[in-house]
């Protein structure tokens, strides 16, 4: 929950663009000025309650913004981008690959490779000439994500924050069979029992995660420098070192590596709204309203779609999940043109996210 000292505009209003990245582990919000400087950020755990996480994150950012700040645009990304789009009134709803790429390009011009490792997923994005040319995502295998390290750290009884520094002190890292999180765990316990030092085991775990990532997510991709490493796991200095050793290149970690998705969404929002454009933003008060999600299974046909409804103070403002469009507009009470919501066909399908 690190927030940054507000930067006061010289005069008049400070134009602000917000990005919201709702993932299954954390929900991040970033506020950028029109020169794409980050002026506030927040990082809260989603804990399975994305709406509350969005509201909490938005509150933190709101409190950190100067009084003369005025929100000009909002973008959302992450697996909960659709929901966030409705709650905030987004100008653009974008997948996390594009959002991460846009953010990395902003901080490291000419970046060729983006390594992104978060709590529940990991990605690789390949860029050439400032354009994404290839990507891959892992959302299934835990052995390639941050949760792997979290688990092992708690097994070893160390805090995840100390993990990286311990790893740096390793003299001869142990090789841990890390093909799968379950095997890695038993192998690690074994190594611990036969008397390897904590330093060497932590370093070994970092190397196992890097190996998993390179063999699984990054398989077949040409990793060229400049390489940017972002996502929550990038805070771990042991991981940075393990990547640099494995790749033989320097790995750059942007200052705001934890909230890059949100930054990307904010940049895309600025672009979407344009110079004069109007934003769909509901206002901070609008975001804090009492949102609820409900759902039901449609029995109209064998598809049995799971329909999700978003309610504000009892009124349905968005609904998605139907494959035939049957439920898109039935009984909708809202006045607002909720972007990416049930009204446009592409938007409806994002709903799955």
């Amino acid at each position: 929950m690190n927030t940054i000292k507000p930067v006061f505009a010289e005069s008049g209003t400070l134009e602000v663009f917000l990005g919201i990245d709702v993932g299954s582990v954390s929900t991040n919000v970033a506020a950028l000025d029109k020169h794409k400087n980050v002026i506030a950020e927040s990082y809260v755990l989603t804990r399975g309650r994305p709406i509350e996480a969005i509201q909490e994150g938005m509150q933190i950012v709101k409190d950190a913004l100067p009084v003369n700040a005025k929100v000009r645009g909002v973008g959302t990304t992450g697996s909960g981008r659709q929901l966030a789009g409705v709650v905030a009134g987004a100008d653009i709803v974008k997948n996390e690959i594009t959002a991460h790429a846009v953010a990395a390009l902003h901080f490291v011009e000419g970046v060729h490779t983006i390594i992104e490792i978060g709590g529940q997923d990991s990605k690789i994005i390949i860029l050439r000439h400032g354009v994404v040319t290839d990507f891959a995502m892992n959302t299934v295998c835990a052995a390639g994500t941050g949760s792997f390290l979290d688990r092992q750290a708690s097994r070893l009884g160390i805090r995840i924050e100390e993990f990286g520094n311990l790893a740096l002190r390793s003299k001869s890292p142990v090789r841990i069979a890390g093909r799968c999180a379950v095997f890695a765990e038993s192998d690690m316990i074994h190594k611990q029992q036969i008397g390897h030092s904590l330093e060497d085991i932590t370093k070994g775990l970092c190397q196992a995660l890097v190996r998993n990532y390179l063999n699984n997510v990054a398989k077949g991709k040409e990793i060229r420098p400049p390489i940017v490493f972002q996502g929550g796991v990038a805070s771990n200095v042991g991981m940075k070192q393990a990547f640099e050793e494995a790749l033989g290149h320097e790995v750059l970690i942007p200052k705001y590596h934890k909230v890059m998705g949100a930054i990307g969404a904010a940049i895309l929002a600025q672009d979407a709204v344009g110079e004069q454009g109007k934003t769909n933003f509901r206002g901070f008060d609008g975001v804090m309203r009492n949102y609820k999600t409900t759902g039901f299974e449609c029995d109209g046909c064998s598809n049995r779609c799971e329909i999700v409804e978003i309610l504000v103070e009892g009124n349905i403002v968005a609904r998605w999940g139907s494959r035939c469009g049957k439920w898109d507009n039935v009984g909708m009470q809202d006045d607002r043109d909720a972007p990416g919501a049930a009204k446009s066909r592409p938007g409806r399908a994002h709903a799955a996210g």
Partner: protein, 415 residues
Amino acid sequence: MEAVVGIPRGLLFYEYYPWYRALLEGLGAEVVVSPDTSKQILDQGVQTAVDEACLPVKMFFGHVSYLKDRVNYLFIPRMVSVCPYEYTCPKLLGLPDMVKAGFTDLPFIIDASLDLSRRVSQVHKFVSNVARALGRSSGLAEASLKKANEVFAKYKQMLRNGVLLPKAMELIDRGSFSDGPGGFSDDRGSLSNGLTRRVKEGRDTGNLYPEAPRRAESPSDLRTIPKNGEAADCRPLRIAFMGHNYLLFDKQVGLTPMRYLEMLGAEIVTADMVADTQVEEGAGIVPKAMFWSFEKRVFGATVHLIKTRAVDGVIQFVSFACGPDSMVGQLAESVARKCGVPYLQLTVDEHTGEAGIMTRLEAFIDMIRWRQKSGEIDLSTYGVFIRPDQGTPYGSWDRGRGTPEAHPKDPLFRS
């Protein structure tokens, strides 16, 4: 008692259904097909099939569960080979045995073997075995084979004409014919109407050159990333949607992503729309003849579409734990990469979340538009090495016979 024969809606049903049906009906049987895969059918399959099986086999088991108490015969032929010198996947070879081992209370299984690997005439043996299982004469078998072949030829023609598979099956069931292109037509209403026309025209003339994409002023301009719903006003992208038909056209697996791609402004091209000769040529770029019939079709068609620049991108749908796919997927990926054509492989199993698939599809379409608009890929230049006057459109991995090198301007190929 009338013979009620059940055909599980899975695996080679998606290749041969019209043929199967005509054959069985010709033999006087009443044919029952299990419904589209539902969550219940999928769950049933996951519970009854062995863990290591691929998703299509698991789904097949689900369909068997659905049918087994509703029919007195199940039609699960052993499809060993459907073409000389070629075979089907080992799991298809052993399918009747796997099913028999997986259930205790099955109706009679018609598991006649079809093996054309040495002689095409073996098909007669197959139909007479099917007839015998149903207590019919081989004379009747010959007559129904003739009928089945006629129906099947019509069906194949529809697919070549660009009618998507579910629609073609429906038309055949109704006894009608369309010279396409058609679209989906089920409870979701008709989609992709007319989308495939261009491919069809291309195929007829042998020219599949796409028009040049618009170029943006400066590379890496964010303005070139599509906005929400912007897809509609851009040139539609043509996407090759490749994989086994039993994955692509299954309601629980491929159909939703396919529809989603259309919403994002993509036209779908499938392997069935590529002519056999083009498939052969395409598959010919590997030094050894491919001996898996269905994988060869997918691979050959993919190569053809890439080499002729008929598509803006290739999405390959593969099943987790599928041996043939893991090989063919790698081959296709390397061809796509060499030629600078965007490629995305989606691996699915019963745990695959729809959300992750949609995210990848959206990112893939974004990526193609971004690359095209920024001029990072420019399809028209690739036409150069496929002009008819320059000989075969196909390169080969054998350097001596001309190489499928990308255009030298392609940044991906600069070292």
